[in-house]
Symmetry: C2
Subunit: 258 residues, 2 copies
């Protein structure tokens, strides 16, 4: 019942980082031991939980991925939230996409790094960058399952086909156990025609994989990272914070019946 | 007075593609001869103007970048808009980020490709992916100037430092003429605290480089690409279409006094 989840979608700005932070924090507050891995050179997750510029002795995700003697435990930091831990990223990770091209076992670096850690955490969430390049491939190869956030917009809907095709190829060639944990509608406004069409399309395609919980557009979710806090610590009563708490319950319910 | 502009920002979902399409289309309707280059493996620009799956004899941006005998002219397509042309992208471009790593003059491929085309267009806009990898570097090396769209959110603001640092490095090592054409506030809501803070921060940093025109959040801008149309053809009276027409005027005004 321990799980590694890649939070992935090559479309930009669909709420991957916001989901990793807030689902992760809500699970930690429900006493789950959670590790967040920032795999995006932008380092949004790292700064969004107030850890910008911080790194443990083992360095950031960059050093951890490129080391030939990976020691993830030495790169993990506690956060301001009990039970919530972080493997941070910074801009050096931009270089990883190039340096990994010629590295040994280049799609398996993260999997190798996480192997000794899997037993120490109930949930590990990997925040992937907006691309289907080597960093995202590492996330998909290391993961048991993918959580796909998507906003109710046309470009996000269109990108799903390519994401699923990539997941299929990873399953066929690199990681046979890769499943789809769930699809999450984010920044979702069901009052608009486009929102309704995208929502209907997603539910038709993914059926019960789509979370019943939908994350509404809520200003607190955009403000919280500017304070280095998950929404539940920044404004617990906000609709955004409450939506991610509800998602955490739905997530755990799904895990327990998996 | 001909110009090549990289529409760039490594942050996802800040309106790069929406800006390339709608500023490009508005300029074309003002009788400027415009070429749009889709440099994003997601191919959002290509599908957003209704050209998904289409390619000329010379192929897509992928073939054009990886060919040793680049022939951009053979890869350019007319669009549904007079004076508006497209060099399309599809998912094969994902491979380019890897294949370019070991290619000759790997940051200069697009520059080389565009050299014979520059005289044929008043404006060339390159839609870059959400990363600071090789595709974006090719855009920055090929460009005379960068147009930076940014939404009024914390992560987008935070990413600007890294983007400017990359632009400085490109200027120092690869493209001495690279300038900042302008900064565009997109999906902007100045009624929110966060929006005001980000707007003030951006104006303080960039001064008169920030366009007076601000693109409001407008549902038509999200709907138009689902019909394969620029907003000005989908709903000319919408606030979104009108904002990009105003931007086109401001853009031309800036070009003429440059
Ligand atoms: N439900 C929401 N309501 C309001 N703002 C949101 C919501 N979810 C995310 N945001 C904001 O929208 C922007 C995009 O979200 P986020 O950065 O989490 O997406 P992402 O998919 O990780 O982006 P990228 O592709 O760049 O990694 C951020 O500024 C974030 O703070
Ligand atoms: N002003 C606006 N009002 C409403 N929706 C908008 C606006 N500008 C862009 N959008 C929508 O927001 C989403 C993100 O915009 P867009 O795809 O242009 O950003 P991008 O920076 O190119 O993203 P990526 O980083 O993935 O390339 C799209 O679904 C687009 O249709
Ligand atoms: Mg992110
Ligand atoms: Mg885009």
């Amino acid at each position: 019942n321990k799980i590694v989840i890649a939070v992935a979608n090559q479309k930009g700005g669909v709420g991957k980082t916001t989901t990793a932070i807030n689902l992760g924090a809500s699970l930690a507050l429900a006493e789950q031991r959670v590790l967040l891995i920032d795999l995006d050179p932008q380092g949004n997750l790292t700064s969004g939980i107030g850890m910008k510029g911080q790194a443990a002795a083992g360095g950031t995700a960059y050093e951890a991925l490129l080391s030939d003697t990976p020691d993830a435990a030495s790169a993990i930091l506690p956060t301001g939230v009990d039970h919530l831990f972080l493997l941070p990223a910074d801009h050096h990770l931009t270089g990883a996409e190039i340096e990994l091209v010629t590295a040994d076992a280049r799609e398996h670096r993260l999997e190798r790094l996480l192997a000794p850690l899997r037993d120490q955490f109930d949930c590990i969430f990997i925040d992937a960058p907006p691309s289907l390049g080597l960093l995202t491939l590492n996330a998909l190869v290391a993961a048991d399952a993918v959580l796909i956030p998507l906003n109710g917009e046309y470009f996000a809907l269109e990108g799903i086909a390519e994401l699923l095709s990539t997941i299929d190829r990873v399953r066929a060639a690199l990681n046979p156990r890769l499943a789809i944990e769930g699809v999450l509608l984010t920044m979702y406004d069901e009052r608009t025609n486009l929102g309704q069409q995208v929502g209907a399309n997603i539910r038709e395609h993914f059926g019960d994989r789509v979370y019943t919980t939908v994350i509404p557009r809520n200003i607190r979710l955009g403000e919280a990272p500017s304070h280095g806090l998950p929404a539940i610590l920044y404004d617990a009563r906000s609709r955004g914070a409450e939506a991610y708490v509800a998602l955490a319950h739905e997530f755990l319910g799904r895990r327990r019946t998996a």
